[in-house]
Symmetry: C2
Subunit: 218 residues, 2 copies
């Protein structure tokens, strides 16, 4: 079998048995975005049937479906597939990580912190996101607590992700394009959106305690 | 200057300029436990002056003082002292980490995941623990949310800490004694206690939402 040279940085990263991407960037990104749009549209339509639900809660259900399925399917595949870069067929999930590794070669290089953060995200946070959809739909008392907990987990994961790369010299991207589009661009949403949701959940919980205080005072 | 051989595992870990511990194990552990007992006793006594406070809340204030100061002082020193193992004086904080590295050499070896987790713990969670003491004493609406958030951060940190070591072969202890007493024994409290507090905070928050629901129903 022919041996292929990998496109990742640092150049001295050893990846025996590496097989290049079969699909182009657009052939990988378009289906991911396409399926995500379908999932979001489905959740939006179905959530419209939930009685007395706000538009914001419906939007949140869409987000939790998108991020939960991304955690479980995409990140779950990565966490438990140490040899994805050797995949000899155009299997979509392997292609995603072969391509994303151009933005962060620690994925192909199986860096233990990446595997750990992705594993925790896939196994704990992913199912918790799907539970959040159910909790919002059925107005469970724990719905804001659960959303806050998941957001804090996502934010903690991002902190670990970016700080470890920084401490190790921040030299894991093939070039500036992949650095800004994949490494920064794809991840910044998981800082921005969880920050906003965590802030909202925090306020909702505080309001509940203030209501409880009043109840006790009466 | 004479060059010293380090006592850590793996044996091929390179630590140029390593200077051995000046203090014995008991000279390091006893002051830490002693000062901790003093801090806990002080917080216990002072918290007795807070009107209408439960014994459990006073205990929690003691815990947050102990763990908060440990995060800020001990872990904060480690996070920002990359050359602690070269310390030529019996400076207590350097001695702590020279000694603890026998249980986990990733500390002396400056593993980026350890520096990141300790840095986040020292800079974010440490001050948050001290804020929790104030929040409990003044019965702030956010006191349970804050405690839950810190506990989840501590638990996430422990998960990353143990899983990365496991993925890298779990071979960072000088011997079985240090493995069980330092690596497992010293850390297991930060899984056990945050789990218990998180569970309690979760329940308290749910109860507040149920009370709020009743208020709205009336």
């Amino acid at each position: 079998m022919a041996s292929f040279e990998h496109p990742y940085v640092p150049r001295d990263l050893e990846l025996h048995g590496y097989v290049p991407c079969f699909l182009s960037q657009s052939e990988i990104v378009a289906p991911y975005l396409g399926i995500s749009v379908v999932v979001v549209a489905l959740v939006w339509i179905l959530s419209g049937r939930v009685p007395k639900i706000s538009g914001l809660d419906r939007l949140l259900m869409c987000w939790w479906a998108f991020t939960g399925l991304t955690h479980i399917i995409l990140e779950g595949y990565f966490a438990f597939s140490p040899e994805f870069y050797k995949e000899k067929t155009p299997f979509f999930l392997a292609e995603v990580w072969k391509e994303y590794s151009k933005g962060d070669s620690r994925y192909a290089g199986r860096d233990s912190v990446i595997v750990t953060v992705e594993g925790v995200t896939a196994v704990i946070e992913g199912p918790a996101c799907l539970l959040a959809i159910y909790a919002i739909a059925t107005k469970k008392a724990y719905r804001h607590t659960l959303q806050l907990a998941i957001c804090l987990g996502q934010l903690y994961g991002c902190l670990i992700y970016f700080i470890t790369a920084f401490l190790e010299g921040d030299n894991f991207s093939t070039n500036q394009f992949y650095y800004w589009v994949y490494y920064i661009g794809a991840n910044c949403w998981w800082i921005l959106i969880p920050s906003l949701i965590a802030r909202r959940s925090w306020k909702k919980i505080n309001a509940a305690f203030q209501a409880e205080k009043k109840t006790k005072a009466n």
